[in-house]
Symmetry: C2
Subunit: 301 residues, 2 copies
């Protein structure tokens, strides 16, 4: 893990003949002060929260954010409270110097990269939680995950004070949880969902794809293939959600390396399982392939 | 209950030769817009959250707030989620017109008075909760109370966007919960605690004092008397918290109308019970007298 020794630093760079500076901030108080300065200058702040080890998916969210921003802030924080016991917190891939260079190249004004003890000091005991949305899909096997996400996102919003924040649709349940939380807590932040960015073969971009071996790739690709199958079945008039789930399940289970966590067709607002496709429907998948737990989702109706 | 039909209104008044206007706002979006206008004008917003039926205790908090404010906002909202089943939500005293006049007389710029369905619309499911502070004192007999308080205060802060908010020390556990929550969630709001305002005979001001009959007054006064006794014992060198609790308990139990919920001597930061007085100590009381559940507290060391 890259340690961050500086409270903040300036890195000058040259892009397209323009010279800019990216600032790295590691304390909440310095970030709040910087956000206040930007707001006092009338600048529109857009936040892209990440856990680092940035890939093209993150960069696509940054580009989306930059189109709405005077000042793009990227947070890089591997949030311990959204990992359960036995999950991959310690193994989660990190490369801060590369991340910083990518943020600079994309035109971010600030990288906010705190250490865990800055976000969760001694005596910390406050949590933001939702009643029903976290009980579905990933929440079933990751019971504390969305409480950790909702809490850290609330904190990031209060620290960075963004006008808008961007989240990827790849983590669609997370996006749904955050939209609901923002509405419920009257958080003054607009939420923008960015489409899932895929590798050339269709695999949804994820930092956890780094865990995959070449031999595991076909099993990993069964996710996008089964989403396409589901969408095709729905387009061909299939309205029985159970039959669609069965077909997708069969396609994934054809790969012995794949271990399904869930295959579900849900209402995209409530995330409740659908039995019939008579309105908006989205398929959600979580599948373990080797050391990687892969998720993907797609509107199928 | 007074129903509020208008989205907002202006009431002109004359005080000390000056003419001002108080604005009543009932929707979150109108309040957020007004707060943004005030902030854009460089005005310092101070919020005094109340459940209405205002008394001198509230007015003292408003005066404290006004000393730090360019624009004083008073919220009046009987928050249903901080009442448990069987508590006095329906019976809670209300008098909106009188409250509005008092706020106007005190120099408030805005009264924010939403209806419950504005604060908790259909589908609402997000809560702010703390791990340990709500488990002590009032939290033992009111298990959902502080979750309701923390959630509504977070919402009020996001709606009113105050630079500072004032809470009374009479609800010391609430003040402690809010200070911790503000720190934990990085809420950009300063918290000011206002001293307990007392009636001439020493009874702590509370909207619930309206439930007391004259015959119940001596029992109600046993709270402040036992706090004074505790402070005197500590001043005279008593360091055994259990003996202080016993003496206070005896003094309250001398009144057959008084039913003790708790008598405790606690660390004022963690609210954990103390056995010995070897640092800051505060006594906390909750006693039912007739229909009223009275609370009071005092530093005794």
């Amino acid at each position: 893990m890259t340690s961050i020794r500086r409270c903040f630093s300036f890195t000058f760079y040259e892009t397209n003949g323009e010279q800019g500076a990216i600032e790295t901030i590691t304390t909440a108080s310095a970030m709040q002060a910087q956000a206040q300065t930007l707001r006092n200058q009338g600048k529109r702040i857009v936040l892209v929260p990440t856990m680092g080890f940035l890939h093209e998916g993150h960069l696509s969210l940054m580009r989306l954010g930059l189109a709405h921003a005077d000042a793009l802030v990227v947070s890089i924080f591997v949030n311990p409270t959204q990992f359960g016991p036995g999950e991959d917190l310690e193994a989660y891939p990190r490369d801060f110097d590369r991340d910083l260079a990518l943020c600079r190249d994309e035109g971010a004004a600030v990288v906010f990269a705190p250490q865990p003890e800055e976000i969760y000091p001694a005596g910390f005991q406050t949590h933001v939680d939702l009643e029903s949305l976290p009980k579905h899909l990933c929440g079933k096997s990751r019971p504390v995950h969305f409480r950790g996400v909702a809490t850290v996102v609330t904190k990031l919003f209060n620290i960075v004070s963004p006008h808008m924040a961007v989240f990827g649709e790849k983590d669609f349940q997370q996006l749904t949880v955050i939209r609901r939380m923002v509405r419920d807590l009257n958080l003054p932040v607009g939420i923008l969902g960015g489409p899932t960015f895929r590798e050339a073969d269709g695999l949804a971009m994820s930092s956890r794809n780094a865990y995959l071996t070449p031999a595991q790739r076909p099993a990993a690709l069964s996710l996008i293939q089964s989403l396409h199958l589901a969408r095709e079945m729905a387009a061909n008039g299939e309205t029985d959600a159970r039959r669609i789930v069965e077909a997708a399940t069969g396609m994934i289970n054809a790969h012995p390396e794949a271990r399904i966590d869930y295959v579900a067709v849900c209402n995209p607002q409530t995330l409740e399982d659908l039995t019939r496709l008579d309105g908006p429907a989205r398929m959600f998948l979580a599948v373990r392939v080797g050391r990687a737990r892969l998720i993907d989702n797609m509107a199928i109706n």
